[in-house]
């Protein structure tokens, strides 16, 4: 079974703090994704990585950056957290690009920024 794990299930941070969300997959997948999930808005893609050190912006990259130094690990960074970044963050991975490949999701990190 593919496993995607996220470092924290719940996080509480203060405005202005630097926040790291980590995601690890154990199936040697090429592609990794960070989504943000908000009620009534569904999932929105923040960043996507198709290889080590490679990344592409998604629909809402502002205020976020990412790092992929190793194939199995994809980090989402909030340089200076703001209250409007309070949300559920979901990481996903897939073996190859394209719709033929299923995305596998982690359990999510619920972030509260005070």
């Amino acid at each position: 079974d593919v496993k995607v794990t996220q470092s924290s299930r719940y996080l509480v941070k203060r405005t202005g703090e630097k926040v790291f969300l980590e995601c690890v997959q154990d199936m040697d997948h090429e592609n990794m994704f960070w989504y943000r999930q908000d009620p009534g808005l569904g999932l929105r893609l923040i960043y996507f990585s198709y290889d080590v050190k490679m990344k592409e912006k998604g629909d809402i990259p502002e205020g976020y950056s990412v790092s992929r130094e190793k194939k199995e690990r994809f980090s989402l960074i909030l340089e200076s957290a703001s209250t409007n970044q309070t949300s559920m963050y979901l990481c996903a991975s897939s073996l190859l690009q394209g719709a033929l490949e299923t995305q596998y999701f982690g359990p999510g990190t619920r972030l509260l920024v005070l």
Partner: protein, 112 residues
């Protein structure tokens, strides 16, 4: 640009009753269609997907969906729901790239 509409934000249904969760999409190109389920406090998992071929797609847990190209719909159905089906369901489209466009989700609440 592609978009996905899930008109029903919440659907309450009694246990053992049938259910249909609606999904409509708009796209100028061919797309691939998906339904994902999110159980409480969990990530999303794939229920089923339509890539090509038969328009009736069967998925896990007794769910099925029908692709209707003329109506640009991909509604999800189950003939008899269980309490354990209580979850949020997301429809998604993919035009053949890395990018998925998700709908806003439908919360299915199964009542005893």
């Amino acid at each position: 640009a592609q978009s996905v509409t899930q008109l029903d934000s919440q659907v309450p249904v009694f246990e053992e009753a049938p259910v249909e969760l609606r999904c409509n999409y708009s796209s100028s190109v061919s797309v691939y269609l998906f339904w994902y389920v999110q159980y409480p406090n969990q990530g999303l998992q794939l229920l089923l997907k339509y890539l090509s071929g038969s328009t009736l797609v069967k998925g896990i847990n007794g769910f099925e969906a029908e692709f209707n190209k003329s109506q640009t719909s991909f509604h999800l159905r189950k003939p008899s729901v269980h309490i354990s089906d209580t979850a949020e369901y997301f429809c998604a489209v993919n035009p053949g790239t890395y990018k998925y466009i998700f709908g806003t989700g439908t919360r299915l609440k199964v009542l005893a």
